[in-house]
């Protein structure tokens, strides 16, 4: 068994519900909807945590892609915009788990595997370079 976090983006016509039933039935995958965002006319976004055998997860992802659903592996919903970031370090002050850190040459690095998604850093960044992707 393994757990994986994926971000799905689907066109309006491909609704989430029947896909989800398919995933459970055919691929024996458990999932949790962590976040959902539906943009009225354009598209929807779903952040899922899926649990199952590795081969089943992979087959499930292929199935989703075949149905015009974008699938992205993610570790954290927190993203740092490198063009806006000036490596000042203000965000590292609030990151309790060390997911945001200064490297030896004083650039900012985001270890997304450590991130707890507390989103404190979003408000701490004076350049507004950090945002949650969903």
């Amino acid at each position: 068994m393994m757990t994986k976090k994926i971000l799905l983006s689907f066109p309006q016509k491909a609704t989430g519900q029947p896909m989800a039933m398919e995933l459970i039935k055919t691929y024996h995958l458990d999932f949790n909807i962590l976040k959902a965002y539906i943009d009225d006319n354009v598209k929807g976004t779903l952040l899922l945590e899926i649990k199952g055998e590795e081969a089943d997860i992979e087959a499930g992802i292929v199935f989703l892609r075949q149905n015009q659903i974008g699938v992205k592996d993610i570790q954290s919903i927190v993203e740092v915009d490198e063009k806006k970031c000036v490596s000042c370090g203000a965000c590292t002050a609030v990151c309790a788990v060390g997911a945001l850190e200064m490297t030896d040459d004083w650039s900012l690095v985001h270890h997304d595997d450590k991130c707890l998604e507390c989103l404190l850093c979003v408000k701490a960044c004076p350049m507004r370079a950090i945002h949650a992707i969903i």
Binding site: V86, S87, C88, G89, A90, T92, A93, V94, M102, D105, W106, S107, L120, K123, A124, P126, M127, R128
Partner: protein, 388 residues
């Protein structure tokens, strides 16, 4: 052997000047000693890139037809000062916008202008015989303006406090977010690369000094506000508390938006990141000794920002080497430290200034007036009584 400004400028013109950054010079002095290093090196570059609230721009829009004497002025919804002549204004960096508040303020307008973007200008007036127009609503770009120059009354602080919060609630300050119960420490300096820490007694930096300012060649125009050369110093002369400051001037039309950026401090307000680089001519051994200072020898105080008084207590005196190490020990508690100014960008600015000088594009300007030493700052007394 002492050098003069003129001799160094002649070397720059011939492409022979030896120019290094204030970080690089440390090893040169260790290897060669102060005397030999002073003969070898001609210019040492210093730089900083951090939040500097006391900043803003003087702008002249030119006259419309019919003309207006602008009284109330906004630029992208940010109020600019209407108390100058008809179409002159001063746009302050920390002024919030009427619609977006501190998320978009004067500093962001200044950045957008430098980036070449169109800015929405709205002005109102009473109308006068000579300036009949009462309203104006248009879009302007930096290139459309007659004059546009930054005039920042207080930049490049010579040393600044580190901040901590001993209270039980989180604080939102201009020193960033301070976690409760001494959860973290923030500090803002480029330390051994910082301009005024490399010339602690202002032997070479004075009125008229030519500088790197937001990507343009600007000048030191005056002593900065809250100029405190009477601050406590160590036995070599380096300030141990906030000391001197500089007022800077430079042409916005020659600036690079990378080095002038709007900033937002949650729960506090808008500020502006300003990129400044100052060259220090190595005129003699004394100046070389000053620029070879290291972070381990530069000290500041960790100040408790939770005390709502002007005089806040210091919990510890720490060196910049300790602050840069990532944590500081206060009474047995290991406390994480975080920077607020960008050393990475400061290094980039020092490199760029170094290249300008090496290529013969930037020459040193000897100050036309030195700044006073022993200048203390005053507080503001609250006096009772409505009329006097």
């Amino acid at each position: 052997m002492a050098k003069t400004y003129q001799e160094i400028n002649e070397k720059i013109a011939r492409g022979e000047a030896v120019v290094v950054t204030a970080e690089e010079v440390i090893d040169i002095v260790k290897e060669r000693g102060v005397k030999e290093a002073a003969e070898y090196v001609d210019v040492v570059t210093t730089a900083t890139f951090g939040p500097m609230c006391s900043s803003g721009a003087f702008l002249n829009f030119g006259h419309s037809d019919p003309p207006i004497r602008m009284g109330e002025i906004t630029m992208n919804g940010v109020e600019a000062y209407g108390g100058l002549a008809a179409v002159d204004t001063y746009l302050g960096a920390t002024q919030p916008s009427q619609d977006k508040g501190i998320e978009y303020g004067g500093a962001h307008v200044i950045h957008d202008l430098i980036a070449g973007k169109e800015v929405h200008l709205v002005a109102k007036s009473q109308g006068t015989d000579c300036y009949p127009r009462k309203e104006l609503d248009t879009w302007v770009k930096l290139e459309d303006l007659n004059e546009a120059y930054l005039f920042n009354p207080r930049n490049v602080y010579q040393n600044y406090n580190a901040a901590i919060n001993a209270s039980s609630h989180r604080m939102y300050t201009y020193m960033g977010i301070l976690q409760p119960n001494m959860g973290n420490i923030t500090y803002s300096t480029s330390g051994e690369l910082s301009p005024l820490l490399n010339d602690p007694l202002l032997k070479t930096i004075g009125m008229g000094t030519r500088i790197f300012f937001g990507g343009a060649q600007g000048h030191v125009s005056w002593m900065g506000t809250q100029f405190n050369t009477a601050c406590p110093r160590d036995d070599k002369g380096y300030p141990q508390t906030p000391g001197a400051t500089l007022a800077l001037i430079g042409n916005m039309k020659e600036m690079n938006p990378k080095y002038i950026r709007g900033a937002v401090y949650e729960g506090y307000g808008t500020s502006m990141f300003v990129g400044v680089g100052i060259p220090i001519p190595i005129l003699n051994e004394e100046i070389m000794a000053f620029v070879s200072v290291e972070n381990k020898d530069l000290y500041t105080n960790v100040i408790d920002y939770s005390v709502p008084k002007k005089a806040k207590p210091s919990l510890k005196k720490v060196s910049y080497a300790e602050l840069r190490s990532g944590s500081v020990d206060i009474n047995g508690k290991i406390i994480k430290t975080s920077p607020l100014s960008s050393l990475k960008m400061a290094r980039e600015i020092a490199e760029e200034l170094t290249n300008w000088i090496k290529k013969g594009e930037f020459f040193l300007q000897e100050p036309i007036q030195s700044f006073p030493m022993g200048n203390a700052i005053k507080g503001l007394e609250i006096k009772e009584g409505e009329s006097r």
